[in-house]
Structure formats: C-alpha cells, structure tokens
C-alpha cells in the first residue's frame, strides 16, 4: 500500500506496540540546550540513572548566550544555567558546543550544519522549533523536560500515532517572495491550530524548488501552525546538502544512505488524513500586525477593521492585539513605523538569509530612528558571512554585527526591545512580551526586515532595487 514518509519513518521506529498504549518510539538524535535540560539531568541524578546513549545526544548553549561578548555573562542565574549544562554534559558524557566553541549556534541551525540531522531519523529536543529538522525528511518534534529525561534514560518516548496532513504549495513564487512568506501565509490562511495533532508534510512545486535552508524556514514554523512536526520528503537537494557534512556518512556508505533516504519520500497515491492547499503565486511579502503568527497580511494590506470580523470572540482577540500593538484598525501596513530590526533566530539566521538582507542593505543606510542588529544563527554562519564580507556590508549600513545565539528572538539575554517600541523581526513568534515586556513584534522575512531598516517603516522589499552586488 502507498505510504507517506510520515508512516514509513514512524513504523521503522516502533519498539513496542501494545493495545491501549501509545507506541514506544526509538529516538535517533537528541539535541539539548541550557534552558530545558537542567531539571531533566537533576531527575536522573536523583534517581541514580544514567544516560542510555550519550553518543546520540548533542548539546549547545544558545538561548541565554550574550551576543556582544561571549566570555562574560552578566546575569548570575543565566551563568548558573550554563555551568549546569557544562557540568551535566561532562558528568554524563555528552558532547557540548560550549558558548566559545567554533561549532556553537542555535540548536536547530547547528544540527543540519554538522550533518547530525539526516533523513529518516527521529529527532527530539526540549524545544518546539525542533520541527526545523523535518526539512530533511526526518520526524522531528519538540518535547518537554520530563520527556527529555525520559529520552536521556531510555532513548525512547511513548507517543500516540499522530494524524497526517499534506499542505500543498502549488505554483511558483513571485520573485522577491521567500520561504518565510510561504509559511506566514499558510498560518494566516489556516490558523495557528490548523495542524494540531498532525504531522504535516509540505509538498508541491513551490516546495520542491526551495533550497535546504529555505525548507528549514518553512518546517521551523510548522509549530506556529500548531503541527506536532513538519517535514519535506528528501530529494536530490537534500542529498546534495548532506554530502561532505561532518556527521554524514562518507564514500560508498554515503551513496547507500542516499538511496535509502530517497526511498523514504511519500509514495505516489499515499493518503493523508487531511490536505490543504495554497497557491504560491498568490503570496506577497508578508507582515504580521498582531500578537499571534496568524494575525498578518501581505505588505500591500492593512490591519483589519473590527467591523469586518464576524465572531465576537475573534473580534475581542483582534481588538486586544491591536491595542497591545499600538495600531489603529484599518491602518495600512506600510504606514507602520518601526524602531528596531532584528535579523536572527532559528527561522532566518542562516547564510542565505544574511545574504538576502545584505542584498537589500548594500550601499544604503539604516534609518536614523532605527536600531538594527544582525545575530548569525551559528558561529559557522558568522565565519562564512565574514569570509564573504557580509559583516562589512551590514556594519557600513549601520547594523550591529553580533555573536550567534537566540538573542532577541526571545530576549532572555540582554538583547531586549523596550516596552512600547516596535521591532521588525525575522524570528517566529510575535506573542505579547516575546521580545521584552511591552515590546511589539512584527514577523517578516530577512529582505523585508532589511527594507524596513532603511525606510524606518514597512515597505515592499521588491521595490528596493539592489544597488550593488
């Protein structure tokens, strides 16, 4: 029978299947960071347990790291959390990319870079954006700290078999419209709980033509559509990305692996529990105006009028959001002025994202009322960008060029948007207070963030012609 990639990977990982129980699923790769792991290690220690397969774990420091100077953590509680991770990794034999290590970066950026993320794997991390790794055709999902402890001690998880969903992106994207705009448009169209209880496979012409980095952006935000995980069937693009990566197989073993990976792709005629579809050519560069990722529209659009919203509870939610965001109903998106620009996060801080932003910025200058920072997703992204001279492009334009980490995506370190101020951000969440108490976040693509940095307000990045290569 024709099977989806979701069913193929799931079935290959069942350790125990019993009536009346979820499946006991084997986990191939467990990624860890400092915020969601300390209580799990403490649990192990209290129960006198060990880590079953430390070599299948990989840890990094990302959420709390300072991006100005990585050798100094001003906040003593953050410092305590990092040293806890260091101690835990040493005690339990887990490889750690310390803050100062050349491989350090946001956990979802370094997994793929290091070739740890591979098709067909089950991948977990105490972090909801683990869905990013699904871009390779893996089942990758976020878990809580109790589950982190469970995986550490058993390398398995009890999981109810999720339903399957196909989100088709048909047609071709218009030039200047990006992977970020696809996923924001999907969420705006179908809602932030469209995927609840499902693993989503993204299919269609527009998806096939995306690079691996762009696919990661799409899968990254499948959690914002409520999905348990998002993935894309592997193809030649996937194989080419993995070739030569440190943890990928090499030589003959690579060819064998590649054949296995390609065979995972969903079969012709495979059936999904639900299918949604959106036409790529209808998508514009997207901007969110509200306090959840579905509250957004194309750059030529406007904030809704309350009178257009039928359901009273939705109207109330939109009113609350508009108030929090300090906007007027019906206001054109391009009239919204911003004070901050953040180019970073596991959604959009890979090399191609920085290139896209630099392409818009080059030869121009950040608007005098805007503070703009670039936070590369990993130290490797930072090195490669510097080799290309992107750092100079950003700095000459008036951006700050920082060390890698989560930074202003969740503002756990000192990169905070002040209350009442507005940020054009390439990250993934615009919840109240996400970038700082009272801060107002608008989610956009890197090119749109760069264009906003120059203009001091939202503007269609396609209307900003490149000045220099």
């Amino acid at each position: 029978m024709a099977k989806t990639i979701i069913e193929k990977i799931w079935d290959q990982h069942i350790v125990v299947k019993e009536e009346g129980k979820p499946d006991l699923l084997y986990i191939d790769l467990h990624l860890l960071h400092e915020v969601t792991s300390p209580q799990a290690f403490e649990g192990l220690r209290l129960a006198g347990r060990r880590v079953r397969r430390p070599e299948l774990c990989y840890a990094t420091m990302d959420h709390n790291v300072p991006t100005r100077n990585v050798t100094k953590i001003a906040d003593p509680t953050a410092e305590k959390q990092m040293s806890a991770l260091e101690r835990n990794c040493r005690e339990f034999g887990i490889e750690l990319a310390h803050m100062t290590h050349p491989d350090q970066g946001i956990v979802h950026i370094i997994g793929p870079e290091l070739g740890l993320t591979q098709p067909g794997r089950t991948i977990v991390c105490g972090d909801s954006h683990t869905s990013t790794h699904g871009a390779f055709g893996a089942i990758a999902f976020g878990i809580g700290t109790s589950e982190v402890e469970h995986v550490l001690s058993t390398q398995t998880l009890w999981q109810h078999r999720p339903k399957t969903m196909n989100i088709q992106i048909t047609g071709t994207l218009q030039p200047g419209v990006t992977a970020k705009d696809i996923i924001l448009a999907v969420i705006a169209e179908f809602g932030i709980d469209a995927g609840t209880g499902h693993i989503v496979e993204f299919t269609g012409e527009a998806i096939r033509s995306l690079s691996m980095e762009e696919r990661m952006t799409v899968c990254n935000m499948s959690i914002e559509a409520g999905a348990k995980a998002g993935l894309i069937s592997p193809d030649e693009t996937t194989v080419a990305y993995l070739k030569g990566r440190r943890n990928a197989p090499s030589d003959e073993a690579f060819d064998e692996a590649a054949a296995r990976w390609l065979a995972l792709a969903s079969d012709e005629g495979a059936v999904y529990d639900k299918t949604l579809s959106i036409d790529a050519s209808s998508i514009e560069p997207h901007v969110t105006w509200g306090t959840n990722p579905a509250m957004g529209t194309g750059v030529s659009g406007r904030v809704p009028f309350l009178s257009e919203i039928v359901s009273p509870s939705d109207r109330e939610a939109v009113k609350k959001a508009i108030d929090y965001m300090g906007l007027e109903e019906g206001m054109p998106i391009q009239d919204i002025e911003i004070q901050h620009v953040f180019i970073g996060s596991c959604t959009n801080a890979r090399l191609s994202d920085l290139r896209a932003a630099a392409g818009v910025i080059a030869g121009r200058h950040v608007h005098p009322s805007v503070t703009a920072i670039v936070v590369p997703g990993s130290r490797s992204v930072k090195r490669l960008a510097e080799e290309e001279g992107l750092d100079t492009v950003f700095k000459e334009a008036g951006f700050e060029w920082r060390e890698s980490g989560c930074s202003m995506c969740l503002a756990m370190n000192d990169d905070v948007v002040p209350a009442g101020e507005r940020c054009a951000s390439t990250s993934n969440r615009n919840f109240e207070g996400r970038q700082g108490a009272g801060a107002r976040t608008h989610l956009v693509s890197p090119a749109m963030a760069a264009a906003a940095a120059i203009e001091g307000r939202f503007t269609d990045c396609r209307k900003v012609p490149a000045l220099q290569e």
């Binding site: 906040d75 959390q81 909801s128 976020g142 878990i143 809580g144 390398q155 409520g226 756990m412």
Partner: protein, 196 residues
Amino acid sequence: MESLRMITSTVTPLDRKNVDTDQIISKEFLKRIERTGFGRYLFHHWRFDAAGAVKESFVLNDPRFAGSEILLADENFGCGSSREHAPWAILDYGFRVILAPSYADIFYNNCFKNGILPIRLPQNVIDRLLADGQKTPLSLTVDLEQQTILRKDSGETIPFGIDPYSKEMLLNGWDEISLTFQYEDQIAAYENRKAN
C-alpha cells in the same frame, strides 16, 4: 508524580483563546534550574503591572477564585514554546485540572507528566461554563475514574474522554521512566537490529 482521582473545587474562568506558554510563564523566569517554585510567576505580566502592582481586573486576582484547583480555558490553550515551566507554574500555583476545547500538543503531553489533568470538552460546553462561571463562581467535581464532571449548582453531569494510558498513569501517579524500564529487553533488541 502525585496521583489524581477526584477534585472538587471552584473554577477559575480564563476567557481567552490561544493562550501561549510565553504568557503562562514569561522567559525571565526560565533561568532557574529547579522544578518547583514557579507558581508565583504564573501569568506574571497579566497579574502584575510593570511596577509590580496587582492588576485587579485579571481573573487570578479575583478573590472569589482564590484556592481554585480547576482552570477553565478556551481553545488552543498552551500553544507556542515547549517550556515545561508552564505546567510547573500551573501546578505550583495550585491547579490540578484544566478544562478547554483544545490544547497545543506539547503542552497537553507536558501536563500529564506532571500530574495535571487536561480535559477536552466541546466548545459549546466550554462556552456555557465560561459564561456561567464568570457570573457566579462554579463548583465542579472532576472524577477521573468515572470520567465525569459534576456541576454542583445544576446537578448536571458532563462526561469526558481520555486515552486509557494517560488515565492509568494519572490515577496511579506512576513514574513513566520506571514503566519504560520494564521494556528494556525490547529496546536493546531494537538497538541490535538497527546496528546489524
């Protein structure tokens, strides 16, 4: 984990959709490396203003609901970040049961691991409870064994569904890891198959 069988309590109505875990527990409280003590930070920015003063209008500050063990919420509760600090804060504050039409997947799982019972009820039932419960505090008895909720004022019994595995874990307060250890042979066998 503490077992859960029957809870009788007034219900705190939180009439808001899509409550995300960033609101339940804000990032400034995620740096602690302990599992307990998060209750005082629950819904921090909704309970307190920037100067730290109590916001009277927020339902958790309404004295009529003090000591409540049941939280009544709306659709897609607990969306966003996977942080288990959210259920830790809810539990530490004193809630053992949540009622909502739907939950985000990770949050829903995290509740069970901490002895919290997240119950899914049809939207029209939740709407009715929210409307009534905001007027006059409602007293409910949640019986996990029977899978029923009894409304004290009207005597109405509302049934609810739950998967048998999660139910058994909660009723017994079992530690899931010890349970999984009973399958160690199967796990080892799987690893051997994979290695060859």
